[in-house]
């Protein structure tokens, strides 16, 4: 099974991350209960902010630890951060467009 041809750069040096994974999982479950608890309370606008804030923290934990983004090389970081940037362009620019429609009511020459 563990024939030397299965050699991986991380094998040999690799030690189990199991305790870390259990800690991250525990944190994710705590956040899950927290987000449902927060949603049951009437916080007005804060409901949305709390829900999305907790979701971002959960996503960051999954990304950084379960997906090993933390230990990834620079090229992977560029792909990851570019993805976030493009996603934000998609969302924020479109919302900005919708939000600003009709703001300019009198335009010279129109």
């Amino acid at each position: 099974m563990t024939k030397p041809t299965a050699h991986h750069p991380e094998i040999g040096g690799h030690h189990s991350h199991r305790p870390l994974y259990f800690k991250i999982f525990a944190a994710l479950m705590v956040l899950l209960f927290l987000t449902v608890g927060a949603a049951e309370l009437n916080l007005g606008e804060l409901n949305l902010i709390a829900a999305l804030g907790i979701a971002v923290v959960k996503a960051a934990l999954i990304l950084l630890f379960f997906m090993h983004f933390r230990d990834s090389d620079h090229l992977t970081w560029i792909v990851g951060l570019a993805t976030v940037a493009w996603f934000l362009i998609l969302i924020l620019f479109t919302l900005n467009d919708y939000n600003s429609r009709g703001l300019i009511t009198s335009m010279p020459g129109k």
Partner: protein, 232 residues
């Protein structure tokens, strides 16, 4: 040159177009990350539509959201988080070379993924019986009555829009789960048959699985939670 030849001679799984295993593994993972970037844009369009229309038609979206079975979404989030843990443990065991444990954790992950789909199917069937499926049978009598009473009948098309997006987003996510389970099955079979032992490939499949979990981490609050207190 002779070094490269030696590298290939001692590692049969090293493909001819790579210099060494590290380069090969990094390329495998980078390929998956690039694919996931396209997936973010794929789901991104739907998230954009949801965010935009919820902002424009908040009343109807809140009514629609309150029709969902929140505890089912809650349980499913928990199930997916456990499946992410078992997937992470499978990758961990793959790096340690414990093939039997890898297979065990992959099967566990598949079972948890199937439980998720089962709960999802239960929700869809409930929605069907409540006549909440646009294009198939969207005429929720109790909702129409309520909206008439509160004088918010103009919200009804927006409730329908909420359910269009709900089924599109959760359906696309469920499709990703089905594909994920199928990929895990093939991977587990190949490792079990000892035909396959590449740690980077197990990790890449893991990346895909965690990504699908990550999408749900945003779907759950957006669809089920944020309007629990917004009763019309």
């Amino acid at each position: 040159m002779s070094n490269a030849v030696a590298q290939h001679a001692e590692s049969p799984q090293l493909l001819s177009h790579f210099d060494d295993l590290q380069q090969q593994d990094e390329s495998t993972k980078l390929g998956m990350w690039t694919f996931l970037a396209t997936e973010v844009m794929f789901f991104g369009g739907m998230f954009l539509a949801y965010i935009l229309f919820r902002w424009l038609y908040h009343g109807g979206f809140a009514v629609g959201s309150n029709e969902l079975i929140m505890p089912a979404g809650f349980i499913n989030t928990g199930v997916l988080l456990v499946s992410s843990l078992t997937m992470a443990l499978a990758v961990d065991e793959a790096k340690l070379g414990n093939h039997k444990s890898v297979v065990r954790f992959l099967i566990l992950t598949m079972i948890l993924g199937s439980i998720f789909l089962g709960v999802k199917a239960f929700e869809y069937i409930t929605d069907y019986h409540e006549n909440l499926i646009p294009g198939l049978n969207f005429h929720p009598e109790h909702l129409i009555e309520e909206l008439e009473k509160s004088g918010n009948m103009e919200d009804l098309p927006h409730v329908k829009l909420f359910f269009v997006l709900y089924f599109a987003m959760t359906g696309l996510h469920a499709l990703h789960m089905v594909i994920g389970i199928a990929v895990l099955a093939v991977l587990a079979y190949l490792i079990f048959k000892n035909k396959f032992a590449d740690g980077a490939t197990v990790e890449s499949v893991g990346l895909y699985w965690h990504f699908v979990d990550l999408v749900w981490v945003f779907l759950f609050p957006l669809l089920y939670l944020i309007d629990l207190n917004h009763k019309p």
